[in-house]
C-alpha cells in the first residue's frame, strides 16, 4: 500500500512573542515554544492513524501541519509522493479536510444548513448537498432550512462531517471529533465515521485523548508527548503490549470496568519552552536511568513498533 502523507523531521516552533526591532538590535535570543520537535511519520492510504496524547503534546499541531494550515519551521511534508510547500499546497488542500472538536464553533451560526453544507463548493448544488446529507444520515427536506442552533450537538457534528466530505477529499483530519458529545451520541458519530471511511475509502488522522476511542477506531497509533512521538505502531500491539513507560502509564491511568485502581505518572507535563534535557519524560518516568537525563533517546524497532526509549536502544 502506498503512503498518502509522509512527515519527515517536522519541527514546529512558535515564538512566544513577536520579535521587535529592539530585540534584533540587542540580539536577544528568541524564546520558542517547541510544539513539535523532529517528528517523522508515514500515513498509509486507507488507514486510520490515531494520534493519542495529553494536552500540549503537539497532537493538534500535527493535524494543522498535515492540513497545511500551519507551515512547519523545518522538515518536509509530502502528499502522495510530492513535496508540499508554500507554493505547492493546492493539491493537498483539495484533498484534505478537517473536523474539529466543538461543532458549534466550527459552523457559522447565522447560515442555513443547506448553505453551510454547500459552502465548500463555492456554489449551491442541491443534489450534492442532498447526497452528502444522506451519507451522514440526515434528511435534506427536514433540516435544509434550519439554523445550527436548532440542531443538537450530535447533529451539528454530522453537518461538520458532511462539510468535510462534500468535496470528496482523500484524507480527513479529525481533531477530537467526539470529545464534546455525550457517550450515547459519541457512539453514533464513531459508527458514522467508520461507515464513511469504508464507503468512500478515506484515510483518517484521528486525534484524541481518549484511549478507548483510539483503540476502537484506529489501525495504527502514534503516542505523542511534549512534542515528540514516543511510540508508533499497530494499535493492537501497542494496546496489548505497550513498550514505552509513558504509554504503559497512560493506559494504566484510563478508567475502565476491569480495574478499581488507577495508576498514574507523578508530576506534570513539562513546559515546551524549557524542555528537559535528554528524554522529555525522564522527570516523571518510573524506570529512569542516568542516560535518560543527559541524552535524547533514538527510535528502536521492536516487533514492528517504534519506541523512543533508552530501555530498548
Amino acid at each position: 500500500m502506498s503512503d498518502i502523507i509522509n512527515l519527515k523531521n517536522i519541527k514546529k516552533y512558535y515564538l512566544t512573542q513577536e520579535r521587535q526591532l529592539l530585540d534584533i538590535i540587542f540580539r536577544r535570543k528568541p524564546i520558542y515554544v517547541r510544539a513539535l520537535d523532529d517528528i517523522s511519520i508515514d500515513i498509509i492510504k486507507g488507514n486510520i492513524l490515531g494520534v493519542v496524547g495529553e494536552s500540549g503534546s503537539g497532537k493538534s499541531t500535527m493535524g494543522k501541519i498535515i492540513s497545511s494550515i500551519e507551515q512547519p519551521t523545518s522538515g518536509e511534508l509530502d502528499f502522495e509522493g510530492s513535496k508540499v510547500d508554500k507554493k505547492h499546497y493546492k493539491n493537498l488542500r483539495k484533498n484534505v479536510s478537517m473536523v474539529f472538536q466543538n461543532p458549534y464553533t466550527s459552523v457559522n451560526p447565522r447560515m442555513k444548513i443547506k448553505n453551510l453544507v454547500s459552502e465548500p463548493l463555492g456554489k449551491f448544488d442541491e443534489k450534492k448537498v442532498r447526497d452528502v446529507l444522506s451519507l451522514v444520515g440526515m434528511d435534506y427536506d427536514e433540516i435544509s432550512n434550519k439554523e445550527p442552533r436548532e440542531l443538537s450537538g450530535g447533529q451539528i457534528q454530522r453537518i461538520a462531517i458532511s462539510r468535510a466530505i462534500i468535496k470528496s477529499p482523500e484524507l480527513l483530519i479529525l481533531d477530537e471529533p467526539t470529545s464534546a458529545l455525550d457517550e450515547s451520541i459519541q457512539a453514533q458519530i464513531l459508527n458514522l465515521l467508520l461507515d464513511l471511511q469504508e464507503k468512500l475509502k478515506l484515510t483518517y488522522v484521528f486525534i484524541t485523548h481518549n484511549i478507548g476511542v483510539a483503540k476502537y477506531m484506529t489501525d495504527k497509533i502514534a503516542v505523542t508527548y511534549a512534542g515528540k512521538i514516543f511510540e508508533y505502531g499497530n494499535t493492537k500491539n501497542i494496546m496489548e503490549n505497550p513498550k514505552h513507560p509513558y504509554t504503559q502509564l497512560l493506559i494504566a491511568s484510563v478508567p475502565d470496568f476491569k480495574k478499581k485502581e488507577l495508576k498514574s505518572p507523578v508530576g506534570d507535563v513539562p513546559s515546551l519552552i524549557n524542555v528537559p534535557k535528554g528524554c522529555r519524560f525522564s522527570n516523571r518516568c518510573p524506570k529512569v536511568m542516568d542516560i535518560c537525563k543527559s541524552q535524547e533517546p533514538k527510535f528502536s524497532d521492536i516487533d514492528g513498533v517504534k519506541v523512543l526509549c533508552w530501555l530498548y536502544g
Binding site: 457517550e183 478507548g212 494496546m239 478508567p255 498514574s264 506534570d268
Partner: protein
Amino acid sequence: MQKLFLEIKNLHVLYKTVNGISVVLDNFNLSIDKGETVAIVGESGSGKSTLGGAITRLLPSSAEEKGEIVLNGKDILKISEDDMTLIRGTSIFMIFQNPLNSLNPVKTVGFQLMEAEKIRVERDKKTLTEDEIKNEVIANLELVRLPDPEQIFNRYPHELSGGQIQRVVIAMALILRPDLLIADEPTTALDVTIQAQVINLLKELNKNYGMTIIFITHDLSLAYVMANDVMVMYAGRIMEFNESNSIVSKPAHPYTISLLKSVPTDYKGGSRLYYILGSPPSFFSLPRGCKFNPRCDKVFEKCRVQEPTLFTMKGKYEVRCWLFE
C-alpha cells in the same frame, strides 16, 4: 452502625425561564451514610449538576427548591443565607469542573489557603501564630503531592496548571475537613494521567478522613472506579441506584445497559458500536410515561402511558422501570 448523614426527601427543583417552567428534579430522594462515596452519573441535561447546586444552595435565583435536604439533622433549605455561608466550606465543600474559576485570580494560592486554615483554627477554638498556620498549609500542600509547596504557596492561580489548581482546591478541602465533599466533574478539564492522580487523592480523602463524597460525572467508568454506589440519572429522574460492581456486572435499567454497551472497548474491525437512538429530551418537552421510553429498546405499552416509580431491587438499591414491577 453508621448514622444517616445526608438525607434528601422529595426534592423538587424548577427553573422559571422565558419559555416557561422546567422541572429539573422531580421528587428526588437520596440518603447517604457517613463515609460513603456515591457517584451521580448522567448525560448533559440530566439534572446532575442541579443536584450539586441544590445541596450547596448555589443555584441561580431563577431556581426554586422544594422539599428537604437534611444534613447532620439540619434542614439546609430552611436555614438563613448567613447560616448557609457558614456551612459552605466547613460542612459542605464543592469542587467544580473548571479549576480556573474556583480560586480568586488576584490573590496568591497561599493567601487563599491561609484564609481557609484560619477558619478551621477559629472553628476548633485554637490559637495559632501566623507561622504555624503557614506551616500547616504547606503540610497540606505536601499531602496532595504538589512539588515545591513553598513555591506554589506564593504563586497566583494563573501560574499553575489545571491539575495543580485542582490539587490546591483539594488541599483546601483537606484543611477545612468538611463532612461532605461534592465534586462536580472535577476531572473533565484534565488529562487522563492527571485525572488518575486527582481520583486517587479523592479516594484517599474518603479512606483516611472518612469524608463523604458525592462524585458527579458523565463517565460511567470513572464512577465505577471512584464510588461504592452509583446513581444513574436521566431527565432529572433517578433511573437506577445500585452498587458500582453490580452496575457494571449486571445493570438493571435498559438505559444503564445501553450506556454501558455504547462505550467503545473493542478493536477496530469488529462490530459497530451499539448506540441509543435519538438524543436526550429537553425539560420543556418531556415525553409522557417513562422519560426514556422513546429511546428504549425494551419499551412496551405501559411505559408510554404511565411513569414508573422506583422499585426496590435489594436492600437500598432501586430501579425506575416497569420491567421490575
